[in-house]
């Protein structure tokens, strides 16, 4: 008989294997007998469409969910992982898609407090000495005394990864860690992690939708489709088409909506002398002027943190403008409910769960946010008709292939990509949009969904919608935009068209020179 050794935190990477893991939510099977093996010291990618069950599977490894069936083998021994603390004991750590840093605390405090064995009384002198020593060997340098709230997204993501290294995790799970990073930041971060893997210090399981990252950094892939195992292989033996076929099941046709040639229409959205502040009261936008015409897509490029977020928030009514005005279809616009409906002023904000949804309300209710207070959704003028909302949502759920168990499921239970689709269905589904603001609409989406969203945006443009597309993905902008503006330090510094665009010049302006 083999005896199972007691748990000691491992000093080097170990094999991790899942054997026929099944996880159900009620009657819905999110993971159906999934097997997966990550040998010690390898970089493994977990691929699959939105809602395939990737996050659910890694949450089983982390002890957030408990698998109903199957085994998790850590270093060859079957283990029960009932909580993230258990996972920590096994040397398994995870970086989540959403940040978990405490904003008011410094980087150092965040690191020290993340340790489950932090003593009740902290000897900061010793801790800081230890931290400095750790930073000597860390893959990226970081100022320990900066409050987390002052870090840009890319830096926060680096701290999250540092935290796992500081906790001495030997098995690192990354759930779409790069969706908040620019491509060059992503390359930097993944490259440094890759180096640690190469040095034999770490195993990594990476969830991603980007083939570029798979080919650039990973050794092996496992693919899930609709909760089932759909393939496995070495990256060097596979092409992107092979992987796509595994993800989608069989071949698929790419459908690119062509941009119709059309006259530029009258002004849809005019931004006149707009000013707004950041959260800390420092100006983020200064005297911004922009006109988006009907039937045109205006793209805004820029390094994140140059005022894009504030601009979209002002347009969404989530942040007060400190100066200037918005004009829509020639009339002054203040974002009231009557105005949004009258002008068809709709938005696809980034982080849809945070910006555009109420997580605990149902998918159907969330899809009805634009229309619940008007006939045919109302009865007797002031009552909401559940039946009408349900049938309205059901139609959009089908048309936009939102994967949800039922329209009554809380939208917070949907996978990241499907939340995005539900918002897309709400904003573009009824076809009443006349002005559309889209901010990084494809973050975290699988390639089929990206294609479908790009198609929807182009179709909207062809219909005569005035589209403002704010994106950190230059390829996306070049593919969709009619005009391209570069924003830097809250001002537009450069304008071009995709036809004339020169990547170098754009990059130059983005960097603020």
């Amino acid at each position: 008989m083999m005896t199972i050794p007691p748990v000691v935190r491992p000093a080097k990477p170990f094999d991790l294997e899942l054997v026929k893991v099944t996880k159900r939510f009620g009657s819905f099977v999110a993971n159906d007998q999934i097997s997966l093996k990550v040998p010690a010291g390898t970089f493994h990618a977990l691929l699959g469409e939105n809602g395939a069950g990737k996050s659910t599977l890694v949450k089983c490894i982390m002890g957030f969910h408990q698998a109903e069936e199957g085994d998790i083998l850590v270093h060859g021994h079957s283990r029960e992982i009932n909580s993230p603390y258990d996972a920590y004991q096994f040397g398994i750590g995870m970086v989540y898609q959403h940040f978990t840093l405490v904003p008011a605390m410094t980087v150092a405090e965040n690191l020290v407090l993340s340790r489950p064995d932090t003593p009740g009384i902290i000897n900061w002198k010793d801790e800081m000495a230890r931290l400095r020593e750790f930073m000597q060997t860390a893959p990226f340098k970081m100022d320990l005394d900066t409050p987390a709230s002052e870090l840009a997204a890319g830096q926060k993501q680096k701290v999250e990864i540092l935290k796992q290294l500081y906790l001495d995790s030997k098995f690192l799970i990354l759930d779409e860690p790069t969706s908040v990073l620019t491509p060059s930041e992503a390359d930097e971060v993944l490259g440094l992690i890759r180096d640690k893997v190469k040095a034999g210090d770490l195993s990594v399981l990476l969830i991603t939708h980007k083939f570029r990252e798979v080919f650039g950094f990973c050794d092996e892939i496992t693919v899930l489709r609709r909760g089932q195992f759909a393939g496995h292989g070495l990256v060097k033996d596979l092409t992107a088409d092979d992987m796509a076929a595994m993800m989608m099941g069989g071949q698929r046709e790419t459908k690119i909506v062509p941009k119709a040639v059309r006259e530029r229409g009258p002004a849809g959205l005019e931004i006149k002398g707009l000013c707004a502040n950041k959260d800390n009261g420092v100006p983020a936008l200064t005297n911004l002027n922009l006109t988006v015409h009907e039937g045109e897509v205006v793209g805004i490029a820029g390094v994140s943190g140059n005022g894009q977020r504030e601009l979209v928030e002002v347009l969404a009514g989530q942040r007060p403008a400190t100066g200037g005005e918005l004009v829509v279809h020639g009339a002054s616009y203040h974002g009231t409910r009557a105005e949004t409906a009258e002008h068809g002023f709709f938005l696809l904000p980034e982080e849809p769960l945070r910006n555009a949804c109420v997580p605990q309300m149902s998918v159907a209710e969330n899809i009805a946010f634009r229309s619940f207070d008007r006939p045919p959704m109302t009865r007797a003028g002031c009552l909401v008709s559940r039946a009408a909302i349900r049938s309205f949502a059901q139609d959009l759920i089908t048309r936009f292939s939102v994967k949800t168990r039922s329209p009554e499921t809380p939208i917070g239970d949907l996978s990241g990509g499907n939340v995005q689709r539900a918002v897309l269905a709400r904003e573009l589904g009824p076809g009443t949009a006349r002005v559309l603001i889209a901010a990084n609409p494809c973050f975290g989406l699988d390639f089929a969904a990206v294609e479908s969203i790009h198609g929807q945006i182009t179709e909207a443009r062809n219909r005569g919608v005035a589209v403002l597309l704010v994106s950190e993905d230059l390829d996306e902008l070049l593919a969709l935009a009619d005009r391209l503006l570069v924003i830097s330090h809250g001002e537009f510094v450069y304008e071009t068209t995709p036809a004339q665009a020169d990547i170098k010049t754009i990059g130059h302006h983005m960097a603020g020179h």
Binding site: P349, R354, N355, V384
Partner: protein
């Protein structure tokens, strides 16, 4: 509902322990409470009389809670509602009874409503924490009550308990049929049903739930967040104001310190246990009304001090708050779905 029910059961067990430490047989105490609260039609009437204001004050916490505001100014809104109702009732005391009652109701609603709206306005205009401001305003309300019944509104004939002039007996809220239960119960039931319909079925409640669930999404949808917040605060205060009106018009007949008898604070507890839902509030208020009604029995039969009932209330409070913080920590709470 599993958690609030569980919490009440745990609180009952703790209360039993408490009684045991006092040297009383807990089962005898429970039996006595049950008998005093629900044992006979006569005692149940007593329970209902106490449940009526609880239903109304519970709404004062429950409605803003759906918006994400934690308002605990129930006692203050009740007192101000009661004072306004008294003043208005005295001003038109010669009118027919239906008019007097309507005017008093309206005045109670406006008084209590504006009182809580102040907390809402402080929050939306200046970012003042609504929990703290509403709590502190309770003390202001009670101070105003004491000032008025000792000064401007004082009836010189009220000697040992300074009170306002009385509402004439024939202008008071009568009892229903030949029972002891006054029409305040109807006010309470109707208010809870309206609150339920408003929050669960009306467009207004849909908007409120959007704001409470995610204010950013609500803003993006063009909802006037501050206006809806203020309206909700007004409705919440108005409900507690009606409770004050009922205490004056159906029970005391005048405004005095008996107004601040703790129905406001107990209402917070009812709202918590009922998870801020209109219909469960009716049930929980009736239960708590029964427990309040049994206070006298405990004193007479078991020589337990008057405050024993408060100990029980406090226990329920603590257990509910505690179980909230445990929620999600145990497998037991997780993922129980169809």
């Amino acid at each position: 509902m599993a958690i609030p029910t569980g919490a009440v059961v745990v609180a009952l067990a703790l209360f039993g322990l408490f009684c045991a430490f006092q040297g009383k047989n807990p089962f005898a105490v429970f039996a006595a409470i049950n008998k005093a609260a629900f044992g006979s039609w006569y005692s149940f009437q007593n329970t209902l009389v106490r449940a009526a204001p609880l239903m109304l004050t519970a709404l004062c916490t429950a409605l803003p809670a759906r918006l994400g505001l934690v308002i605990i100014g129930n006692e203050g809104a009740l007192v101000v509602g009661g004072l306004s109702a008294t003043a208005a009732g005295l001003a038109c005391a010669t009118a027919p009874v239906a008019v007097v009652i309507s005017v008093m109701t309206l005045a109670g609603m406006v008084g209590g409503g504006l009182w809580i709206t102040v907390c809402g306005a402080l929050y939306y205009q200046r970012g003042v924490n609504e929990t703290i401001s509403s709590l502190l305003m309770n003390y202001i309300a009670i101070a105003v009550l004491n000032h008025l019944v000792n000064g401007p509104m004082r009836d010189p004939s009220s000697l040992n308990k300074p009170s306002s002039f009385p509402i004439p007996d024939d202008k008071m809220l009568p009892a229903m049929g030949d029972s002891n239960v006054h029409y305040g119960l109807v006010f309470g039931l109707v208010a809870c049903v309206i609150a339920w319909a408003l929050m669960e079925h009306a467009t207004f409640g849909f908007k409120v739930r959007m704001i409470g669930g995610n204010i950013r999404a609500a803003r993006m949808s063009g909802l006037p967040v501050a206006r809806l917040g203020l309206i909700t605060c007004f409705l919440a205060g108005a409900a507690a104001g009606i409770a004050g009106m009922i205490e004056v018009a159906a029970v005391h007949g005048r405004a005095n310190e008996s107004l601040a008898a703790g129905y406001g604070y107990a209402g917070i507890l009812v709202a918590f246990v009922a998870r801020y839902r209109g219909l469960p509030i009716i049930l929980v208020a009736t239960l708590l009304g029964g427990i309040l009604a049994s206070g006298g029995i405990l004193q007479r039969q078991f020589k337990l001090p008057d405050a024993t009932i408060l100990v029980f209330q406090g226990l329920v409070f603590l257990v509910i708050l505690f179980s909230d913080s445990l929620y999600g920590k145990f497998k037991f709470f997780k993922e129980r779905e169809a």
